[in-house]
Subunit: 254 residues, 2 copies
């Protein structure tokens, strides 16, 4: 199976490398930024292209791994009749690709990819959707060649998963950042929190999060909560965050 990768960002890079390692023939890598296309193409022995018109019809599968708003733009200029064309977005519907081909689908890998950090793709859950049974079967088989965790999910289900992922990953990382900034203002290294962060994530591998909850709000210790809110008085945004999340926890642990 010959594959062309449209995009050279975090998702595109990790996916292209995983496919290359799985011995797929990566034909082209497209990015509107020449340098990015060249960088990734080199890694996977493909031809770099930075003009949409230069994307050839010599691949079997086209994977569009771009920001959602750029997908809309690129789809206008892309026509690949007969080819299987998928995007990797959690939130765009499959039908966003309708004008590109009659064999469309979605290949949504649920993971937080960073360019610098290597990752074993086999452990990444992948959610696939195909426009018809034949395409779904092909995408399912294809996904299984690089991931051990393949699920089918239509656009509505995938969107729910994306929202849950934003909460559990993006928002969680933001809390890490807020706590790191807060410590740093007090001259304390973020390192002291790392065992706690590791254990917090580790705990819910075996325990339901609601049963793993600890801390003042879960104990109903409002004296501490009020005390913390008073300390945060001069940081209105952090105070709002503290209040909202404490109230959320308290309402679950009466």
């Amino acid at each position: 199976m010959k594959i062309t990768i449209i995009g050279a960002g975090n998702v595109a890079s990790h996916l292209a490398v995983a496919l290359f390692r799985a011995k797929y023939d990566i034909v082209q890598v497209y990015s509107r930024t020449n340098k990015h296309a060249a960088f990734l193409a080199k890694k996977v022995d493909a031809q770099p292209v930075s003009e949409i018109e230069a994307i050839e019809s010599n691949a079997d599968l086209y994977i569009i791994a771009l920001k959602d708003d750029i997908i809309v733009d690129i789809v206008r200029s892309l026509h690949l009749p007969g080819k299987i064309v998928v995007h990797t977005s959690g939130s765009s519907s499959m039908s966003a690709l309708a004008s590109v081909s009659e064999r469309i689908g979605v290949f949504y890998p649920l993971q937080t990819f960073s360019k610098e950090k290597e990752m074993s793709f086999s452990e990444v859950p992948v959610f696939i959707e195909g426009c018809d049974k034949g395409t779904t079967v092909i995408l399912n088989q294809f996904a299984h060649t690089i991931s051990n965790h393949v699920y089918e999910a239509d656009s509505a289900k995938r969107k729910a998963i994306h929202i849950a992922a934003v909460i559990a990953c993006n928002f969680t990382n933001y809390l890490y950042q807020v706590s790191s900034d807060y410590l740093s203002e007090h001259g304390i290294s973020f390192d002291v929190l790392k065992p706690l962060i590791r254990e917090t994530a580790q705990k819910i591998m075996e325990t339901e999060p609601v049963n793993a909850q600890t801390g003042p709000a879960a104990r109903g210790d409002w004296r501490i909560i009020e005390d913390h809110l008073k300390i945060l008085e001069n940081k209105p945004e952090l105070m709002r965050l503290y209040q909202l999340l404490s109230e959320g926890i308290a309402s679950q642990h009466k």
Copy 2:
């Protein structure tokens, strides 16, 4: 060194077991709930007591591991002149113990303890404070016998660490719960998020959280954010949470 543990909750239990394994002589375990005192005392070969008056003055060190509001209550009835008396609270000041002894301090282990889950105490950061140099030295040496990560922190610093820990641990776990509930409403297993949660926590062991941030808000992808907010319209609390955290992330990634 003979030790009496006042409390039989999560912190008291993990600490008592760690001390017992380190060959300390645990004299008594106090809990106002007889059953809890008995359960923990049995584990560490100590005498269970459930009346404050039954706490004897035959130990060298008294560790009060109780909820902050109960510390205030118990301190009124506890007089242990000449003994070293510490509490394990992140938020109570050391001076809360002033009426109990003239040798007071704090032994604050920074971790999320669950009764069911075993844990290696040696990796738990411990923040100590003593009322004078001699007490501080003794507490420092003592803490080093069960933890590899001992720091000194006065009450103000410890409170800052506690706030950061609430954010990075308690609030993070709440986000896990919210995402788990949301998936469950859509008939999707929380298991699909676990590799993502693991990687999110793992990433910041090496990368600053601000550099590890991914997702729609970090990319400035407001189309997706608006789309998600619309989907969450019938869940006003989750919507507020989504909005507040997305705005927080976006303001850091312009």
